[in-house]
């Protein structure tokens, strides 16, 4: 490093002021000096030398920059992932039914009523690959079919009274249920139910609303649904809608099976208290949001547990809190029956993606006609 010899070599630059206000000339190496000699335009430039305040200032500015960028990225991310408390409802156009189908449905309205069947859905939305998700168009057609065929949608109270033998529906009847409490129920299903004057029950996983996931309803939407009079709500557990129970029966739900740790299942008491705590937590969630305490329950993954003590404990905990409990085994689907067994678990007719309205109608007819009187 040689001290710059530039001042002497400058054309007309002799005697440049070297007052105390000027920082000392920067040291340059030979290559830089040679290049500067080629560029007399830069001869009169004085670059400030680097001193301690500069270093501090630079650090401060850099810190501000980093904070600014981090804040911006965080703000953008939060904005994008924020789930609005009430999303817009989307209207589905009326699906045109063929005159033949329509005639069939209308004709069946006059037939003698059978027992009520329970229908089970999950999510209603377009653009989904899941077999559990029914498109709004298909759902619209199915509800239109129910309306044309004179089906009455029951409330939970009416369903319970039917089982007790104190309620006689005047025509065909059905109990429409939805599991999981997906967002599509507010956005797509509710307008369709309103169109045909139908009502339904939704089983909510009470830890999901307002958890930040866009797939589930928010509590605000659930409240609006409750207020509309078209919806009733049941529980689908608080936080046990998982298959986290490690152990030999690995595919079991965390509700119906004890949790394993270090190769050993938890004790029966621990299991019972865990299940009871979760169910009570779920009931409390409804109360916290000003909603009626649910009286119905849907088993996560339709897993009611085995014959073990733990399974028995789960079923008992459910029976103590709920008057009706539902599953979808799709093996022994029957309509509701008049019975005195309050712990009976009711199997539902599950509707999958792609099921057409005619299929659902035929299934309803077949199952309710076959029901024993």
């Amino acid at each position: 490093m040689i001290t710059s010899s530039l001042p002497a070599a400058l054309p007309g630059g002799a005697g440049h002021p070297d007052t105390l206000a000027d920082p000392p000339p920067t040291k340059v190496d030979a290559s830089t000096a040679a290049a500067l000699a080629l560029l007399p335009e830069l001869a009169h430039r004085r670059l400030p030398a680097r001193r301690l305040p500069h270093r501090a200032l630079q650090t401060m500015i850099t810190t501000i920059t980093l904070v600014m960028v981090a804040a911006l990225l965080t703000a953008g991310w939060s904005y994008a992932t924020h789930v609005p408390s009430v999303r817009p409802q989307i209207s589905t156009p009326v699906t045109p039914l063929t005159p033949h189908d329509l005639a069939t449905y209308l004709a069946s309205a006059d037939a003698a009523p059978g027992a009520p069947l329970v229908l089970s859905y999950h999510d209603i939305r377009p653009d989904s690959d899941s077999i559990y998700t029914v498109t709004p168009a298909d759902f619209e057609a199915q509800m239109q079919m129910l309306d044309a065929a004179g089906y009455q949608a029951l409330t939970i109270a009416e369903a319970g009274d039917y089982r007790a033998g104190t309620f006689e529906p005047t025509g065909h009847s059905v109990l429409i249920t939805f599991d999981d409490g997906a967002a599509g129920l507010w956005q797509y299903a509710d307008p369709i139910l309103e169109r045909y004057g139908l009502i339904a029950v939704t089983f909510v996983i009470t830890s999901a609303p307002d958890s930040g996931s866009p797939y589930y309803l928010t509590w605000d939407e659930i409240t609006l649904m409750q207020q509309s009079g078209r919806w009733e709500f049941g529980s689908h557990s608080h936080d046990l809608h998982t298959k986290d129970a490690p152990g030999p029966d690995r595919l079991g739900s965390a509700l119906a099976h004890p949790v394993w740790a270090d190769g050993v299942p938890q004790s029966l008491d621990a299991h019972r208290s865990r299940v009871e705590h979760d169910l009570d937590r779920s009931l409390a969630a409804f109360a916290e949001h000003g909603l009626p305490i649910p009286t119905t329950f849907a088993y996560p993954f339709s897993d009611v547990g085995t014959d073990s003590e733990a399974g028995e404990a789960t079923r008992q905990a459910v029976a103590e809190r709920f008057s009706l409990a539902f599953v979808n085994t799709n093996r022994d689907t029957q309509p509701l029956q008049v019975t005195e067994d309050t712990s009976q678990i009711i199997d539902r007719a599950e509707i999958f993606a792609g099921h057409q309205h005619r299929e659902v109608f035929d299934r309803l007819q077949r199952l309710t006609e076959a029901a024993p009187e």
Partner: protein, 481 residues
């Protein structure tokens, strides 16, 4: 007369931007650098906001959004590097280039050879030669090679020799631009070799500034100048191209330069150290691709030799071991290749759509050929250069598919929103480039034309790639694709 376009002319309107920027530039180097970074990121806030808002969707479904996010991310990256990090290499004190090449420094005032090859350029050869010999560099050898012109250029050159001092090399038979240049270079005495094109006009200090950059930074093997359109006002298309060139140099090349890996030292002003290219000139002249002589890809290929010689140099040398250019062996080095923003040159751009398309097809073929060459080693030059190079290549290769998907398939399926979103993205990108032009050229209204270039590129030029691929073997001198 070259248009000034230089920022030395003061704008009539009093804007707070200029004095602020001047104040920032006067700070101590480290403070100045951190201030620039802050200012640039502030200006990039809109683009960063879009990126942040799209990020959750992208993480959920990477494939669907990868193209858009890739374009947005790389635009932000390139702008950041060009504006926050780039220092003009002709400023010896403010710019830094690491000497990874371990190269000896050039002499303080090296001999420079400025060479051009001309074929039938009767309309523009006067101003080209005048600007070359009008360079204010003291030790300059000017060589003009006439590649068997038959429109009177040869006679005009002989006449010009009486008025200007240059060496004229006339070739009896037409051999093409690369071979013509190499023939002329056999008489080159400079330690620095500068190339220009026959339809260009250099600023008087352009060569001197490029040489100053090479002198200041021994690690540099080559630098590119800053090219604009000479005939900017001729047609709408030429004005659009002028704004395109501005950004392509001041932003894209500057970003590449911050990594020392400018991939194409452009023909209008390409300045090389002799020891970086001399041994590879025979390979350059005899370049073959897919079993045939490849007559395009002059500047890009030559830059490739400088960038990649550490890895592919020995093979190229040994293939031409008995050439006079291999008489002295220059060791293969890991050169840096940079860009000098203040070295101005103006070039003629195509004015008609047809001429423009022919040029773009030539460029696409050059790109394809070079991808098969530089693509082999660019990843060795570092993460930054690799991201820029392969990212750009992917973008060019994806462009036809994107164009089909959004401009043909989308409308056919009735998905007009898809088309609208694509065009909106194109316009956002074009507007960002337009704003950059406006910032760099205060008072110049032509920034409004820059977004049009993005539309031209996406809607029109993207279709040229398949055509270029299919016709790549067809290559003649310069004017027909």
């Amino acid at each position: 007369m070259p248009p000034t376009g230089a920022p030395s002319t003061q704008t009539p309107t009093a804007s707070p931007v200029r004095p602020t920027l001047t104040w920032v530039e006067g700070r101590e180097r480290g403070v100045r650098w951190s201030l620039r970074r802050l200012l640039v990121l502030l200006c990039l806030t809109p683009l960063l906001a879009i990126l942040a808002v799209r990020l959750p969707d992208f993480l959920r479904d990477p494939v669907l959004l990868s193209y858009g996010m890739g374009v947005l991310g790389s635009t932000i990256f390139i702008f950041y590097r060009a504006y926050a990090h780039y220092e003009d290499l002709a400023d010896p004190e403010l710019s830094r280039v690491r000497n990874q090449a371990g190269a000896p420094p050039l002499p303080a005032v090296p001999d420079v050879t400025l060479i051009v090859a001309a074929m039938n350029e009767i309309d523009v050869i006067d101003q080209c030669v005048a600007s070359m010999t009008g360079s204010d560099y003291p030790r300059l050898q000017v060589i003009v090679v006439d590649d068997a012109s038959d429109d009177g250029t040869t006679a005009r050159l002989r006449e010009l020799q009486t008025r200007h001092d240059f060496t004229l090399v006339t070739l009896p038979e037409r051999v093409g631009k690369k071979k013509a240049l190499v023939a002329g270079l056999r008489q080159a005495t400079g330690e620095v070799i500068a190339f220009t094109d026959s339809d260009c006009v250099l600023a008087p200090d352009a060569v001197r500034r490029c040489v100053a950059a090479l002198v200041a930074h021994p690690g540099l093997g080559a630098v590119s100048g800053h090219a604009r359109a000479l005939n900017s006002e001729a047609t709408l298309l030429s004005t659009i191209q002028d704004t395109w060139y501005e950004g392509s140099f001041r932003v894209s090349k500057a970003a590449e330069s911050t990594f020392g890996s400018v991939t194409c030292v452009s023909g209008p002003l390409a300045v090389f150290r002799r020891d970086a290219i001399w041994n590879y000139l025979p390979a350059w002249a005899a370049d073959r691709f897919l079993g045939a002589e490849f007559r395009f890809a002059t500047d890009r290929q030559l830059t490739g030799y400088v960038l990649g010689q550490a890895w592919i140099g020995s093979g190229l040398k040994s293939a031409h071991a008995d050439s006079p250019f291999l008489a002295i062996d220059h060791p293969e080095r890991r050169w840096q290749v940079g860009y000098v923003r203040s070295a101005k040159v103006w070039t003629v751009v195509p004015e008609s759509g047809r001429a423009f398309l022919r040029q773009q097809i030539r460029w696409k073929k050059s790109f394809i050929r070079n991808l098969c060459f530089s693509g082999r080693f660019m990843w060795r030059r570092g993460l930054g250069p690799a991201v820029l190079y392969y990212g750009h290549a992917l973008w060019v290769l994806a462009a036809p598919f994107m164009a089909v998907r959004h401009l043909v398939w989308g409308p056919v399926q009735g998905l007009w929103l898809l088309t609208a979103l694509y065009l909106a993205g194109v316009l956002v990108k074009g507007t960002a480039w337009g704003v950059a032009y406006a910032v760099d050229n205060p008072g110049d209204r032509r920034w409004r034309y820059r977004p049009l270039m993005s539309v031209v590129s996406s809607v029109w030029l993207s279709w040229l790639l398949p055509y270029s691929l299919l016709t790549i073997r067809r290559g003649v001198w310069s004017r027909t694709p």
